[in-house]
Symmetry: D2
Subunit: 356 residues, 4 copies
């Protein structure tokens, strides 16, 4: 790991399901120090008492003792970066206030993701999209800026599509998801609804996944992102799994493609975070399994050198002909699909001088 400066971080939405994942990950981070926790109703209480803690892992004791602050810029004074795990309905306004006040905000919320001057980051795919931040500052007259990370479902999918588009001209992607309960937050899905059942619908999810993937996979040129032309059809389902979104992908290509080549290409995929050896970057962004019956959420969601940060792919095979491919992919929805990618984005920003 190369040298870096120490980074002070604040967290918006600290007690929610996504917020908790930051509390779970950041205390072990080499140089990102979570100094300030902010919340709504929990403000004024100690974090350990305000939160309904969802993990088996014991909560970091220093975090437990921190008093949750009001979600306003003054609370984060002295911090270099603000992570936002706010619900989207409040994120739009609150995040803008922080950026206006000079903070760099990295947000998990959907509120600003599709703004044309806001980067939607998966650092392995589109590190150069960070340059949109200049446009954004100029256009909005802000001292700070907002970067976003995508919907949990689109993250793993986009990572798998990136090398398939680059090497084989993937043109069409038909996707069915089987998504974990934690994607709906807490309390989220009632047990009476999902027990011994599948729910074939997640509100707004299909639209979000398609639109966001096109932006993430788009090209940055002249200060603007041109969306990827890939065509997408998405069907989202909820299943009784705690963590880990499974997705089947059928893709069509502009050329013939062999499953063996595709496996090699996916396994070899690397991005800027691997080159820079960022601390939260997994050695292999995509792990390819060759057994018939993998990936499986319970067994594979924490695979790889940074648990939860690799996408696991299996069952790579041709589709209806030599120009089409089918595969199954799994990614951890609250790590790679949320806090992990946000932290990785912060690491990239630090290295590229955006936090100075």
């Amino acid at each position: 790991m190369t040298k870096h400066r120490e980074v002070k971080a604040a967290l918006l939405g600290a007690t929610g399901a996504v917020g908790q994942r930051y509390i779970n990950m950041l205390p072990k981070h080499p140089y990102l120090h979570l100094e300030v926790l902010m919340g709504g109703e929990s403000a004024g209480k100690k974090y350990g008492q305000a939160v309904h803690w969802l993990f088996p892992d014991a909560m970091d004791s220093a975090m437990a003792e921190k008093v949750v602050k009001q979600a306003r810029p003054e609370s984060a004074k002295g911090c270099d970066i603000v992570f936002s795990a706010l619900p989207s309905e409040v994120a739009a306004e609150v995040e803008s206030k922080f950026a206006e006040a000079g903070f760099i905000v990295v947000s998990e919320a959907s509120a600003h993701r599709m703004d044309s001057d806001v980067p939607l980051m998966i650092p392995e795919i589109n590190a150069e999209h960070l340059r949109l931040l200049e446009t954004q500052k100029r256009k909005r007259g802000w001292k700070g800026a907002i970067a976003t990370t995508p919907n949990c479902t689109g993250t793993g999918l986009s990572m798998v599509l990136k090398p398939l588009i680059d090497e084989y001209q993937a043109e069409k992607a038909i996707v069915t998801t089987m998504q974990a309960l934690s994607g709906a937050g807490f309390p989220g899905v009632p047990s009476l609804s999902i027990q011994e059942n599948v729910i074939p619908y997640i509100k707004n999810e299909e639209e979000k996944v398609a639109a966001e993937a096109k932006k993430i996979l788009g090209t940055f040129k002249d200060g603007v992102i041109k969306p990827s032309p890939i065509e997408m059809g998405i069907s989202c389902n909820r299943v009784a799994v705690i963590d880990g979104h499974m997705e089947t992908l059928y893709a069509e290509f502009g050329m013939d493609i062999s499953p063996e080549d595709a496996e090699r290409t996916l396994a070899r995929f690397r991005g800027e975070p691997q080159t820079l050896k960022l601390p939260t970057a997994p050695d292999q962004p995509i792990i390819v399994r060759r057994e018939n019956d993998r990936p499986q959420p319970r067994l594979d969601r924490m695979a790889g050198s940074v648990p939860g940060m690799s996408v696991v792919v299996g069952r790579v095979r041709n589709g209806i002909d030599a120009r089409s491919l089918q595969l199954t992919l799994l990614s951890h929805n609250t790590i790679r699909g949320a806090a992990g990618t946000a932290i990785l984005t912060a690491e990239l920003m630090e290295r590229e001088g955006y936090l100075e």
Copy 2:
């Protein structure tokens, strides 16, 4: 209901998971009388003692008292029809023996499904395929004959594809299944494998579904079935649901198609069993739900006038463009996908004189 003769039936594989569904359904049948139960290791025992009964419904007391017989033609003497719920590895030989001995066999097993002279029946779709039985008898020199019913996963799918092909020239079908535990029989899937998990693989299933659907949807001409040219890509998954296979379908068409038209077409679909008012024929082979979040296995698998015999479709919407469609379908895998379709086939055969 029109008049019919009384039909005496025998059952091969009576104690297995599929066999039990016949024991569950037939005692209430108006004219199919289950007279003889046959089994392997269970032969010689009373059915009620030999079986590991899987249903909440109490077992029919007359069935419980029947002594299971050896699986050979003499056991079924006097019966008009033999249902086979045998495992495929033994079905090939045993079923042939029964047909050779003069019995009409209706089989759930995959052994003979793809034989060119054996009809693969979903009576709503391909009632005329029964005429293959003449070819079969002649070619094999048998007095009896074998008719088969499809794999549980392909049944609901084929029923939905039929009107879409006929009315809108469906050309390509990309399907992802989320299949119930009962599809794997008993003991079947270990709980340690599926609890809080999804398994992205079911052995041989994808190949079977595609090949069988093409045959089922094929045209019968000059004593031969010409398979449907529809192209299919299938991804099969196991989920922690007891009964009811869910499937997402993305289809492409030779013409524009509106979701509203497709819904109407699907809801109006009727086949020969509805015309003939066969007792196990549901009023509506396909029930269309317009809520966002239906069908769901636990809520909808028993929908319709004959519980478990209707396919429930929902989320009908366009795919990537006006020439493509996406929808979700659900069918009960051990009723419509197994015993129910076999019983319906027997009813059709009775009405068309094949049991005389």
Copy 3:
């Protein structure tokens, strides 16, 4: 069935999880006619649109069309009885208003259960407790009156204890429950909390079960109920089952008791509803299973002549010595443990002239 008059009923809390069970059961009732549905936020809407329907069974179409009314006495004008499925925090006041206005209220809520002048009814056990209604009317100066039915967990337990106390002087009962999700209502238990888990606590439940059982099993004399002296220790747990509360019971007796005698005694238990042949009375209030591995919630919760109204008992065996017994019991928490017992109570009241 003997003759009876037609009874017009109203329902408070019609859209909740317990309320729905009445909508599920009453439309098939021979003489209880559900005329008026009342609710809070749902008032003014058609029931079919206001409710988040939890059952696989299709909703009765007449019920679906009924417009939900405000929860006040005028709404129920002309009704002979008012069922209350209100949450306890609002039940206290609302139910009193209805009783004051002259209605007979049969309530599932805990609000009035422990009032000394309010009967807590399981008709098989304590039909004579209805006579408390006279005391109640006199004492409170009401024209109407309130009868209550117990907590779902205590219902099955009390039914099993009743014959064991009467015949063998049961003195101490140590009980551990494994309770179904539907007992917590909807949305109730979050799936993230209960998936692959057990929750060893249900708020206030242990205290309620013990206190209510003592009242139910108490003796009515001189217008007062003297609680049963039985000592009880209860541990309540939530498990990932949809319907059906399982309970293990260890009991100590004032005399020796053999498991065989206990089984006979339990299986022979009958109460006033059986004598009167009330329509919702099961032939056998307690069904005894002798297999090692029964009862099981998914297989046995709907056992008996009136599905869901019988308690199923199994694994009857001695405890630490000849004066103690262990067994497992199962009862359907929203039928026998809620709506079913309330309906049975209404039937008893009709027969005994309390609705005139």
Copy 4:
């Protein structure tokens, strides 16, 4: 940690569900080196190919490459200790052969547990029972010897009873278990049996738990173990949890007991492994939680300084009076309840000179 010699270990039953837990735990051990893996049908294959690996954690690569050997003494030549994770039906004979051939065997199987000259070890409770090994060697004329560890269900229970007996004269224990799926091995419980269900029976389990606890808690005197006089009534249930056995305990005492005192006593409990600072000994054998709703299997099974080795207790409260207590306990059935206690026993034996 004090000094120790390096110990070479062999493992019988390496591919089974319990065997896998050793492969999961031992490669990280400071001085126990797993040199030899033995199996039945898997003999001759590489372990990584022979096993159906059940854990999310990647298998140790050195273990994966080991060739499984035949289960006979020659295979273990040079080893200082033999762990047995054999199924009980084969354990009796095979383990005796190893002991006769001079090996110290530490066995998870039930075969020899109740032999009067075989110690049944939970090192925190009965370290001195190891002295039975002298009796055993002498009596049987063996050079080696067999030590056993208890049934998974009795382990946590015995650990909780030990301080309650010593300090408060616990006399009677009424226990209901809710046991995890992994306790039944693999394939174990069929998913169709346990999904949305509870099974109120585990073969032979209740008898084993009671008898073994009395032996474990017994006193060693004059070369003989005198069983504890505590009276026990046990009801065992299977629930849909992967790992972690929950148990409710109702206990009666020879004196008054306050929940606060009991909590303190439980939390302070330490045994010989803690004194000796054995590597697999958790700092706190019993962790007491004071929240209402803990322990929970998914959240607490890996609690403590050595994950899976602490018993977690909660809901400590009085029972029917001041001389009785109720509580809930949780212990990891394949770590504390199996491999972990066996490894801890081996560590104790090494320290006390039994492996020289």
